[in-house]
């Protein structure tokens, strides 16, 4: 059986849900090896968290160059490993770091690349939703090792426990990958809420909140949802930029997306219109986001949301 690589994805020292999603897709193609890139002495602890999904083995590469030189060093080590082991495909999480690693790996291994796949089939055909979700595309890499980045929260993951064999290999990193040096790194502090790109439900607020996100947050917490924001809200400093949904923020594709006080500019839609169900709360009946809403409430979010929050609470008890 052929071997498939996934680049294990971590956040806060733990493998993310995305790692299991990558493994689930990769297992259709062959036996899955999760590659763990870690700082010196950090590999074993990280590898121990790669314990969900159909993963046959974990391969640890350790080097402080990953910490100092980020994307370029990570891509170099992964590319050298691919050249050595010739996997049938390599699946990587579709976020800024993952896409840039994939981009460099594609160049270094002379391989075709597909980004933002929402699914990958056994014959390595990737499914993508392009043009703001209006078109489904199936495509295939025709040269080299298929390098595919997969969007978080798209593949129905097999979360069953696994206890993969753990091995180590040498990280080979050339000098060309050590040209931009990271002098300080501040990981994003995670709040108590689910991660935006991984959440099943996202509740977002826009300019209509007028800076007061309390109603949005209370509603989100009642639903166990992540909180998102429009650019108008992040630009005004009402919510951190890391929560921005849209073209230049995050792309989310949850089961349920609730937009509160957001008009629906094309750049906002670009990041949320593949959500399964969309609910819109807006005072203006002409707001363009209503055009793609499964359910819309024309009204003031400051009265609609508290009533809905209470309603859900009542149903639970």
């Amino acid at each position: 059986m052929s071997n498939v690589f996934i680049l294990a994805d971590f956040s806060g020292g733990k493998a993310t849900k995305t790692t299991a999603e990558l493994a689930t897709a990769a297992a259709r193609i062959g036996a899955v090896t999760a590659v763990v890139l870690a700082g010196a002495g950090k590999g074993v602890a990280l590898a121990a968290t790669v314990n969900q999904g159909p993963i046959a083995s974990v391969l640890i590469l350790e080097s402080d160059d990953f910490v100092q030189y980020g994307v370029a060093a990570s891509a170099d080590a992964l590319a050298n490993l691919i050249k050595e082991k010739s996997p049938a495909a390599v699946l990587i999480a579709s976020h800024a770091f993952g896409k840039e690693v994939a981009a460099r790996v594609a160049v270094l291994t002379e391989s075709g690349i597909i980004t933002d796949a929402v699914d990958v089939a056994a014959d390595v055909t990737a499914t993508q939703l392009v043009f703001g979700g209006s078109t489904t595309v199936h495509s295939k890499v025709s040269h080299g090792t298929p390098i595919i980045t997969v969007r978080p929260n798209s593949v129905e993951a097999d979360f069953s426990a696994s206890s993969p064999a753990i091995e180590s290999a040498t990280a080979n990193i050339g000098d060309a990958a050590k040209k931009s040096k990271i002098s300080s790194s501040q990981p994003l502090v995670k709040g108590g809420r689910p991660e935006l790109t991984e959440a099943n439900i996202v509740v977002s607020g826009g300019r209509g909140t007028n800076g007061d996100f309390a109603a949005v947050e209370k509603f989100a917490d009642e639903l166990g949802a992540a909180v998102g924001a429009s650019r108008a809200a992040t630009d005004a400093g009402w919510y951190p930029h890391s929560h921005q949904v849209g073209q230049t923020g995050k792309s989310v594709s949850p089961q349920l997306y609730v937009a509160c006080g957001i008009s629906g500019a094309i750049q906002h839609r670009a990041g949320m219109q593949t959500s399964k169900t969309i609910i819109v709360v807006n005072k203006d009946p002409e707001a363009p986001l209503f055009d793609i809403a499964d359910f819309g409430v024309i009204g003031d979010l400051f009265s609609v949301l508290p009533q809905a929050t209470q309603g859900i609470h009542a149903k639970k008890s």
Binding site: A106, T136, S139, K179, S180, A270
Partner: protein, 260 residues
Amino acid sequence: MKIAVCVKQVPDSWAEKKMVNGVLDRENVDAVLNDLDEYAVEEALRIAEAHGGNEEGGANTVTLISMGPDRATEAIRKALSMGANDAILITDAALAGADALSTSAVLSKVISDGGYDLVICGTESTDARMSVVPAMISARLGWAQLTFASKVTVDPAGSVSITRVTEAGVDEISAAFPCVISVVEKINEPRYPSFKGIMAAKKKTIEQKNLAAVGVSAASAWSQVNDATPRPARAAGVKVTDEGSGGTALVNFLAEKKLI
């Protein structure tokens, strides 16, 4: 300093896009300068202005580099009218449907022949939305990669430091010339072309080259589209007006859909 800015002409964000034979139909849509590239042009101009300018006799030049069809000159004129000095446009029938790998190969050759100190890109083109070309250029040229910058500080003596902002967090990164930079939209507010700028842009040179003149051969794309099918457009569903029970109606909808 010699600064290059990679700019792309893309279909207007609002335009309906279609695939023809597995390739985006670029002919029958309104086209504009990729809006994220405006931030790259603005940043290049600010860097030039902070260190001796890019006017006649200034210490710096800002050259636009673009790969695309003939009509991409429209988007390039806009960037020229913001204040860039000149432009190179690579047009070749063999490049229709080129993928990011061939795009980056062509751009890299032009960049290395031009002897630039800095190359500045947007983080993403709004049509393909791949966010890979800057990293590919850096890998091909073996130049430092300083991408997703929300702040760029240049020392004309030969080094750059940036603040990189991604979903993973915030990094401070620095490197020596030459570097490939990409900028996020939070970095600046792109200027509107002035009347004077628009008039001056008409006289600026756009050097058009085909692949032979660049000196690279056309490679076929390394990924192939098997099929592209339009998905049913999202239709508007139920819309209620809140007359005191809008929140309750919302909860009932959630319950009906088994979302709670």
